[in-house]
């Protein structure tokens, strides 16, 4: 095998690809050829590094030097300086916010320093399209162990002892789920990998599918042995083309190596996998809806029992787990339940991947041990809030999760604490909000998403989300009434109580949690007709600050409704009757001369 002195690991996760990382890779390869370095330097496309905000990312190994926000024009200089002359290029390195000195090494960057990589252990270091690289990092070792040395009972005992809980959101103990399916007599049995990730702002599953598809395959073979399944399905949403492509390649390679299909590793054990492309409904992530979708019917949940373990796909025993859960399994088998159980808290073991997005400096994907406090995630890894703004809340668990306020920043992140605080683990989306965010507006946003994505079967969910959206919209428009809050609470409670599936039962969480922690904001909208954050258009107005205005005409030119009056070097004024509150003037002004007035009651006609 050819040895190279330097490996250039170009991130090829969806985030970096959309910033042009394939072009960067191409440019690097060309430049390396041009300088005749092809025998010394190897360019590799890897899975997502997680620091998507800084893409395209290049990691130079073995030095561990981290380059970010690369452009094609930087490449010739970079190759010449670093890989020819051995002088790392400082201006392409990461500079933490509010600091001047760049940090050259990946392991010293706050964002990476506090993470604990288990599921994402291969991210940014192997080429996900090459099975050899996965095997090189102990890949398929756990599968070999499970197939040759362990009985199905021993595998389940190991998973149970590790305390692994489903990473899809509900946190059901995985060992228990497998055990229930194993006990069933009916044949054949099926496995499903749930990769229908629909939460806005969440991309954990996509990243695992893209960065380490073989880990999922390996986990599923181990699961198949434990449960006695012959066939598995990987359900991936259609919106993830790169993930689909990489999993397909991975399945092909595993089959060619005898790691999937008939007589795996010569043990006589048969198991094969098939990819199912999802049709893009949020509700397809619910297990019974997902199974309906695999069968070719409308993705609509059904009543449980019978549970999937008893009657799942085509009424046969089925085990369905999330992408992250399957990818965790090989690690537990390889390193032992004791090691895994040593991580995390009393009830929540191991690590969890979160996608950290919103008003935060370091946007990206992080894997942290369970039990870490929110503060450590937001201020440690996340690097705090940009622009000197205050942290207000963090929305955890996707659309049906809840908002956790500032006073609970010391909350440990585990299944129980989050549920108690009115949010949920969900699949692991974390949306950080600053003081410029209106919580009623956030509730409205999520209710709008949910009223679109409810399957429409249960009255409580279909009508409930629609009516909650209507009420919250009326409140943001200043048309709220005193009685609205009680009605909203009653409606939210019934939606939670009476709906059939997980979507409906949690659909009221955005309302319930914002009402619980930010009731004063609702009250301000209803009684004072005031939006404290200055977001709700009907409750604010834009004014020109006469002292600051230079009369440059920028705002006048930007205004789509010609609501701004004034000539050059004359102080402008805004005609409120024409203003549609689009905020274009605010953005156009170079002198901060436009203010958002929100502290007085505004008459709503």
């Amino acid at each position: 095998m050819k040895q190279h002195r330097t490996h250039l690991l170009v991130c090829a996760g969806t985030g970096c690809v959309s910033c042009g990382s394939f072009k960067i890779k191409e440019a690097l390869e060309q430049e390396v050829l041009k300088r005749n370095l092809q025998d010394e330097v190897l360019v590799v496309a890897t899975g997502c590094n997680g620091f998507c905000e800084r893409g395209p990312i290049l990691l130079v190994q073995p030095d561990g030097i981290f380059y970010q926000r690369l452009k094609v024009e930087d490449i010739p200089h970079l190759v010449e300086e670093h890989f020819l002359k051995g002088r790392p290029v400082k201006k392409l390195m990461y500079v933490p916010p509010a600091k001047k000195e760049p940090i050259p090494k990946m392991k010293d960057i706050e964002f990476f320093k506090h993470q604990r990589l288990i599921v994402l252990r291969n991210r940014g270091r192997i080429d996900p399209e090459k099975i050899e690289e996965y095997i090189g990092f102990d890949g398929y070792e756990a599968m070999g162990k499970a197939l040759t040395e362990m009985t199905p009972e021993a595998i389940i005992a190991e998973i149970t002892a590790s305390g692994l809980r489903g990473r899809g959101g509900a946190g059901f103990p995985t060992g228990k789920k497998w055990e229930a399916c194993r006990r069933e007599k009916a044949r054949p049995k099926y496995l499903i990998c749930n990769g229908d990730e629909g939460d806005p702002g969440a991309f954990m599953d996509r990243s695992v599918l893209e960065a380490d598809p073989h880990a999922i395959l390996e986990g599923m073979v181990i699961g198949a042995k434990a449960i006695g399944a012959e066939k598995g399905f990987i359900y991936i949403r259609n919106e993830y083309p790169l993930a689909l492509q990489r999993v397909e390649i991975a399945i092909g390679q595993a089959r060619a190596y005898g790691l999937l299909g008939k007589d795996i590793l010569g043990t006589g054990f048969d198991f094969d996998l098939e990819i199912v492309q999802g049709a893009g409904a949020f509700v397809s992530g619910e297990e019974s809806a997902l199974m309906a979708s695999v069968e070719g019917r409308i993705a609509m949940p059904r009543q449980r029992p019978p549970y999937p373990a008893q009657q799942g796909l085509w009424k046969k025993p089925t085990t369905i787990n999330n992408v992250e859960t399957w990818a965790t399994v090989p690690n537990i088998i390889r390193r032992g339940a004791k090691w895994f159980a040593g991580l995390g808290t009393e009830t929540s073991k191991g690590t969890k991947i979160f996608s950290l997005v919103g008003k935060i400096n370091n946007t990206g994907l992080v894997e942290v041990p369970m039990g870490i406090t929110l503060k450590d995630i937001v201020y440690g890894i996340g690097g705090g809030i940009p622009g000197g703004h205050e942290f207000k809340a963090v929305q955890i668990g996707g659309p049906s999760g809840g908002c956790i306020p500032r006073k609970l920043l010391d909350l440990p992140v585990d299944y129980e604490s989050l549920t108690e605080a009115g949010a949920m683990m969900g699949s692991g989306g974390m949306i950080v909000m600053d003081d410029k965010t209106c919580m009623v507006d956030i509730a409205k946003y999520f209710m709008n998403f949910l009223r679109d994505e409810s399957c429409g079967k249960c009255v409580s969910c279909r009508e409930g989300t629609q009516r909650m959206y209507e009420i919250v919209t009326a409140i943001t428009e200043g048309k709220g009434r005193e009685s609205d809050l009680a009605l909203l609470e009653e409606l939210a409670q019934t939606c939670k109580d009476a709906s059939m599936c997980g979507l409906g039962q949690t659909a009221a969480n955005p309302i319930l949690s914002t009402l619980r922690y930010f009731r004063h904001e609702y009250e301000a909208h209803i009684t004072d007709k005031r939006c404290p954050a200055g977001v709700c258009k009907a409750l604010i107005r834009y004014l020109v600050i006469a002292e600051k205005c230079t009369g440059c005409l920028s705002c006048k030119n930007a205004c789509p409704t010609q609501a701004i009056k004034g000539t050059r070097s004359d102080i402008h004024s805004i005609d409120q009757s024409k203003c549609i509150k689009c905020g274009a003037c605010l953005e156009a002004c170079h002198f901060d001369a436009i203010e958002t007035r929100r502290d007085e009651a505004i008459q709503i006609i």
Partner: protein, 230 residues
């Protein structure tokens, strides 16, 4: 036979039967709308919810779809159940205020006001017609379209379905197609006139057997009186 507890009674059910069927067999009343004996249970209207389990783990499930299980604990009429049912009636009434079936259920549960803006859609998406067409008429000419708040019942591609034989099965089974109650307050339609059969207007006019439960408010007797006076 499966043995479980319902409303503190020990009940028995055939394997494969549902909680609703068992309750009806024992004469316990559970309201339904999207349920029909001849069709597969759907569980969409959520009127038939009952509370199962005890303590913190108690939850509401639709009894029409929940199978009778050994050792199950069911309560058909708790505060939580009633709160849910009343809200369901209110939500559905806001969709189709004209449905007599819904008005009757509303009366039964004492729902006297609808706090939501009426939609006047005349359809509550209970899916009875879809199942009727598919299961009894073997036609599958109509089905659900879209999801969430855009959901509706329609023929494929919104054109006349060649499968449809105009049998009228869908109209026959529809709970919302029936004409609204022509009681004294036909416009607001929630007079609760059917709530009780005790004549309540005897103080006002005892010649007319009026059961509108309206304490002389509806004005019928006044009109009758003045007509009689003439």
């Amino acid at each position: 036979m499966i043995t479980f507890r319902m409303n503190n009674l020990t009940v028995q059910a055939e394997p494969g039967s549902t909680v609703l069927e068992t309750a009806r067999f024992y004469g316990l009343k559970i309201p339904t709308l999207c349920y029909h004996e001849g069709l597969t249970p759907w569980g969409g209207c959520r009127l038939c919810v009952v509370e199962i389990g005890e303590g913190a783990r108690a939850k509401l499930v639709s009894s029409c779809t929940y199978p009778a299980e050994e050792g199950l604990v069911v309560r058909t009429d708790t505060k939580r159940v009633w709160a849910a049912r009343r809200m369901m009636v209110e939500l559905m009434l806001a969709m189709a205020p004209g449905s007599k079936v819904l008005q009757d259920i509303a009366s039964e549960f004492g729902v006297t006001q609808v706090r939501f803006k009426p939609k006047n859609e005349e359809c509550v998406l209970c899916g009875l017609c879809v199942r009727m067409c598919a299961e009894q008429m073997d036609a599958k000419a109509i089905g659900f379209q879209s999801r969430g708040h855009k959901r509706k019942i329609a023929t494929p591609f919104d054109i006349k379905s060649p499968e449809c034989r105009l049998c009228g099965g869908c109209i026959y089974i529809c709970p919302a197609c029936q004409l609204r109650c022509q009681g004294p307050q036909a416009e607001t339609a929630l007079c609760n006139g059917c709530l009780t059969m005790a004549p309540t207007c005897l103080d006002h006019y005892d010649d007319l057997q009026c059961w509108m439960y309206d304490n002389g408010q509806c004005g019928t007797c006044v009109r009758e009186k003045s007509a009689a006076g003439k």
